[in-house]
């Protein structure tokens, strides 16, 4: 009996305080599908930081990979009367009814990091150009190979094939590598399903089948620990300049990649400019509120970071901003 | 005196289930316990087995007070219960089943492990004592029903009990296997074990028992020496009145016209079976378990597909039989597993009865006239003498076995079938309900229908049928006409194929 009363009291309290919240500042609702990778954590942190910088209030909600819950959470935002919504959706399809709901309420919505499957309704998408960034990264690796004057056998770690980003990165890799067919031969495509253990097993197996692989691209930096483990077991993990060094490239720009760049083991990684994207997102909302015309898709061209530009670019690299747990 | 139960009474809430029952059992004596369903046999035995405590009354075992608090207490005191439903783990081996409660152990490095060798040796001993020739390492699900039954008994004997309670042990056994069980029971008796034997089969009870105890409505009617009793006397004691005749007589004769013709039917176990049924005929099928009788019925009714053969219904060829088609044509099938196949056990009596009749009573745009159906259902339920208190709310699960069977029968009778297939219609049903079912089927035949009766009870077939066909190993082996029925000849015809098989 007692606890029911307590809950009721708690409910009244929350209602009371939420009603009293002053609504002078612009209120942004931030809905994230998940916080299960560092990238998402860095993104939401950056968004919140940008809000504070621009003197905006925000509400945040994380749906734990549940599309229904995300829909509920956005509906809650709408009934709380937010002025704009930034959403990192579960997937390209489930975001569509969410967009509809926001449109009906007349609240601007920005879709972060994923392209909705249907080109309908009013929204703005912000995506990194996975294809172009990957292509740039792989071209940098290819140039390294060509200048060394040796021939290389190459391996790529592929992400989950149900994920557009993974598919675009694979496509970018394949298109870039074709330009270097004179020096690089692709011998192993390792599917990882974004799973560390599968990545470790896959790289080990590929090295077993082709011990002379000298060129590895990982579709995400977070798989690097697995790659390193496999390379170490095969006695192939050496810094740049060593004769046994393998040309390594990645994508994301996380803390691990930053550390590897610093220690000279990683040649290059493609970075999504998280800070730029977050800024873009908030600016888009402000723009819509001020009735400025806006593009449907805003693209983050990203950048690549390598040994030569490490110093100047690391301030834009989100992974460098995180204190890697050591 | 091995066991004495004094003035045992038991009530569940307001309802008195047992009223001051006395029971005596000597060493080496077999006490037959009979009574209709709901007479209180199970409750009495459950009190002895430690499952319930009596409301009043005392028990003495070997002249000492006996107060079991749990089934385990009773087991430890040497009282074993062979339930109708076997308590075997079919996923384990014979040996594992025998020792599941307590394996022989050996210790190694201070830890104790199963002593497999010892367990296998002991299993071999126990099995050969029982005359069972199966491997200790055979999985139980590969044994026949009879072997499983005997294994269950072996398991119980392993604890060398003083008293064994058998609850309907022969329902899943063929006659031949039953004989084997009986000789075992006689041997146990000779060794001084006290036995309580519960069965609806009065002939078996008369054959085995030294004394017979009759219960009716929770009251002790009598416990007397067998020599002072006879089957009619027992029946009277159980039912409380004389049944005019065990099998009610029927005056109608089969017509000349064939209703159903089956030619060269193959499928599954069934090998080239041909027969026909005339209008108003009762045709019996006899055979051992696994002879293919139920399979034949299933093929005929379209529950399993047949590979080749020819079925004619009123001279029309039926190429693809299916239950829907047959219900429409007027054929009904009362299956052997009424609980699993014939009834929706949690639904009301009314819902169950109207199930098959629905398809025929459609009118006006396929709507079912509710009130007409309701009345018909009630009439049929009363005609079948189903004992219920609320036809539209009471779940079938709450009825006794005999009444459940009457519900299934009512379901099909509502349809007014021209041919009714009955598969073991009186299995596990008490004598009163049995008599009512016989009367019902006779009335059906008088009204012009035919019946195909599958039964393992030869007396039942002889008492009801116009003709009996005997099956063995999926084939028809012999046909008997009314007037030349002979128990031992029929049994011989059924065993014929079996013996051949064993010699091979």
């Amino acid at each position: 009996m007692g606890y029911k009363g307590l809950i009721a009291l708690l409910g009244i309290f929350t209602l009371f305080f939420s009603c009293r919240q002053p609504k002078e500042k612009t209120l942004i609702g931030i809905s994230f599908e998940t916080l299960q990778t560092e990238y998402w954590v860095a993104s939401i942190d950056a968004l919140k930081a940008s809000c504070e910088e621009n003197e905006l209030d925000y509400l945040e909600a994380v749906a734990n990979s549940d599309a229904n819950r995300q829909f509920e959470q956005v509906n809650n935002f709408i009934s709380r009367g937010v002025d704009g919504i930034v959403i990192a959706p579960k997937d390209a399809h489930t975001v569509i009814p969410i967009i509809k709901a926001a449109n009906r309420a007349g609240i601007p919505i920005v879709v972060y990091n994923r392209l909705p499957a249907l080109n309908k309704g009013t929204y703005t998408t912000i995506v990194a150009d996975n294809y172009e960034i990957t292509k740039k990264t792989v071209r940098y690796m290819g140039d390294l190979a060509r200048t060394s004057g040796k021939k290389y056998k190459a391996m790529i770690l592929i992400g989950d094939l149900g994920d557009t980003n993974a598919v675009m990165r694979r496509k970018g890799f394949n298109d870039a590598i074709r330009e270097y067919s004179d020096v690089i031969e692709l011998v192993a495509e390792v599917p990882t399903e974004w799973n560390q253990e599968k990545a470790l097993a896959g790289v080990t197996n590929a090295l077993q089948a082709n011990p002379d692989i000298g060129f590895i691209f990982s579709s995400s930096d977070f798989l690097f620990p697995s790659v390193i483990s496999a390379l170490k077991n095969a006695d192939k993990y050496y810094p740049i300049g060593h004769e046994k060094h393998i040309i390594l490239g990645g994508f994301d720009g996380d803390a691990m990649a930053y550390k590897m760049l610093k220690s000279g083991h990683l040649d290059v990684t493609g970075v999504q400019n998280v800070y730029y994207e977050c800024d873009l997102a908030l600016r888009a909302i402000m723009g819509i509120l001020e009735d400025k015309p806006l593009d449907r898709i805003l693209i983050d061209p990203g950048f690549i970071i390598h040994q030569q530009n490490l110093e100047q670019m690391s301030t834009y690299m989100w992974g460098a901003g995180l204190n890697s747990t050591e | 005196m091995l066991l004495k139960m004094n003035k045992i009474s038991k009530s569940f809430g307001e309802v008195a289930v047992l009223k001051s029952i006395d029971l005596k059992l000597e060493k080496g004596q077999l006490l037959g316990l009979v009574g209709e369903n709901g007479a209180g046999k199970s409750t009495l035995m459950n009190i002895l087995g430690g499952l319930f405590a009596p409301s009043r009354g005392t028990m003495e075992l070997n002249a000492e007070p006996f107060i079991p608090n749990s089934p385990n207490d009773a087991l430890k005191a040497g009282i074993a219960f062979v339930h109708q439903e076997l308590n075997l783990f079919t996923n384990l081996t014979v040996m594992e089943n025998l020792f599941i409660s307590d394996f022989p152990k050996k210790s190694m490095l201070g830890l104790s492990f199963l002593d497999r060798k010892k367990a296998i040796r002991k299993t071999d001993e126990l099995l050969s004592e029982m005359g069972l020739s199966i491997s200790p390492l055979a999985k139980v699900d590969q044994l026949t029903a009879a072997q499983q039954q005997l294994l269950e008994i072996t398991k119980i004997l392993n604890n060398s009990p003083q008293i064994i309670i058998f609850d309907e042990p022969t329902t899943s056994l063929t006659r031949y296997e039953t004989e084997k069980l009986f000789s075992l029971i006689r041997k146990l008796k000779a060794d001084g074990t006290g036995i309580i034997y519960i069965s609806h089969n009065l002939e078996d009870v008369m054959l085995l028992a030294d004394q017979i105890m009759v219960l009716r409505d929770g009251q002790l009617i009598c416990q007397e020496d067998k020599t002072a009793l006879s089957i009619p006397k027992l029946v009277k004691a159980m039912v409380g009145r004389d049944l005019d005749q065990y099998f009610p007589s029927r005056t109608t004769m089969p017509a000349e016209e064939n209703l159903l013709e089956v030619k060269h039917l193959f499928g599954g176990l069934v090998q080239e079976v041909s027969f026909s049924i005339r209008k108003q005929e009762v045709l019996g099928f006899y055979g051992l378990v696994g002879a293919g009788r139920s399979e034949l019925a299933r093929l005929l009714y379209g529950l399993d597909p047949f590979t080749s053969g020819n079925i004619r219904w009123k001279r029309n060829k039926i190429s693809k039989p299916s239950p829907t088609k047959w219900v429409h044509e007027g054929m009904a099938f009362l299956t052997e597993n009424r609980r699993e196949e014939g009834l929706m056990i949690q639904q009301s009596i009314e819902k169950n009865i109207q199930l098959a009749g629905l398809t025929k009573e459609r009118s006006l745009g396929n709507l079912i006239p509710k009130q007409i159906i309701k009345n018909k259902v009630r009439q049929q339920a009363n005609a079948n003498k189903i004992k219920y208190h609320d036809i539209s709310r009471q779940a079938v699960a709450t009825l006794s076995g005999g009444n459940q069977q009457k519900v299934v029968l009512a379901k099909w009778l509502l349809l007014g079938p021209e041919l009714l297939i009955l598969d073991e219609p009186t299995k596990g049903i008490d004598i009163g309900a049995r008599h009512e079912i016989y009367t019902l089927t006779n009335n059906l035949v008088k009204a012009g229908s035919s019946i195909l009766l599958i039964s393992s009870d030869i007396e039942e077939l002889i008492g009801l049928c116009d003709r009996i066909l005997v099956m063995s190993e999926g084939r028809l082996t012999k046909e008997f006409q009314k007037g030349s029925f002979d128990r031992s000849n029929i049994l011989a015809a059924a065993l014929h194929g079996q013996e051949k098989d064993e010699k091979r």
Partner: protein, 324 residues
């Protein structure tokens, strides 16, 4: 004649996973010479070690007709906590003991809810699945944890020439095999899975059996987690995701029934694990199209489940006819 044919058919069906495994090895050996090598077999075993340990625990649970969805989360939590402890300078053995205790604690909670509050295992372990992962994410701050060299050395170390993960796997599988076939408790696991009510009547303490089974599963999950991280070198926030399904798939492939009472750790589950690993290994060896991987794994599981249900149908039919 027909019976002989049926018996051979039956034998083939009984050993379907074994046959499939042999065919897989043959197939890849023909296509890739590197596949059929001593080194590669070691690779397959090392890569399968964590899964085998996990699936062994899962087999115990499945045998009682239960399921444990929390194993992947236990793995993750164990990884995070041991990682944090080792990184902060605590000795390796100490971290190991603590996290194995955590695995046991999860098993205890699962079992407690299942038999005290009579909640079905699926729901209970789904709750602990979320709780475990949530706790892990909270502790790790959703950051990857990089592990020190010492742990990696352990993962790639050898004793008597046998890699440590393989050794651990063999010990676990052997112990489980021994427990299931040679102890009272083992037999009780099968009995409870077949019918808890009958088990109770036979004097078996069903609750105690369930408790032990979930403790074993939790312990195996923790140990499997340790074996996995000792090879990975880092714990990402997605570590252990869907491991429960891999473990269940391996056990089912090895012939363990989802309905309880049937199955074995050896050869059963071990073969299931080896089959999964060899297929993954072989597909990389021959550099198959990445889209083929899930397709092939899926169809193999489908095939095995089909064989299993075929078996079930036979069993039922045999029972109905009362034949042997």
């Amino acid at each position: 004649m027909k019976w002989i044919l049926n018996k051979n058919m039956q034998r083939l069906l009984d050993n379907s996973t074994m046959v499939l495994f042999a065919l897989t090895v043959l197939f890849f050996s023909l296509l890739s010479p590197e596949f059929f090598s001593f080194n590669n077999f070691f690779n397959i075993l090392v890569q399968g070690a964590a899964l085998a340990i996990l699936a062994t625990g899962m087999t115990f649970v499945l045998l009682t007709a239960g399921i444990d969805l929390s194993v992947g989360s236990i793995m993750f939590l164990v990884g995070v906590i041991s990682g944090k402890m080792v990184v902060s300078g605590l000795p390796l053995w100490f971290a190991g003991v603590i996290v194995l205790g955590i695995g046991l604690a999860f098993g205890f909670v699962n079992a407690l809810f299942i038999f005290r509050l009579k909640v079905i295992p699926f729901i209970v372990t789904l709750a602990t699945f979320y709780a475990g992962r949530g706790l892990g994410l909270l502790i790790s701050d959703t950051r990857a944890i990089n592990l020190p060299e010492s742990l990696l050395k352990l993962g790639s170390g050898k004793i008597w020439g046998i890699p440590v993960p393989i050794l651990l796997m063999l010990i676990v599988v052997f112990l489980a095999y021994f427990i299931l076939t040679r102890t009272n408790f083992g037999k009780h696991v099968y009995a409870v899975g077949h019918d808890p009510e009958k088990s109770r009547k036979a004097g078996i303490s069903v609750n105690r059996v369930l408790l032990k089974v979930y403790l074993i599963c939790g312990f195996c999950a923790a140990l499997g987690g340790l074996v996995a991280i000792s090879q990975l070198g880092a714990i990402s926030p997605t570590f252990g995701l869907q491991s429960e399904f891999m473990a269940i798939a391996a056990a089912i492939l090895g012939g363990t029934s989802l309905f309880g009472g049937r199955g074995s750790v050896f050869p059963g589950t071990l073969i299931g694990v080896l089959l999964i690993q060899s297929i993954q290994n072989g597909l990389v060896m021959i550099n198959a199209d990445p889209y083929l991987h899930p397709l092939i794994t899926g169809s193999i599981i489908f095939l095995i489940v089909m064989i299993d249900s075929l078996q079930n149908m036979r069993r039922k039919k045999a029972k109905k006819l009362g034949l042997n």
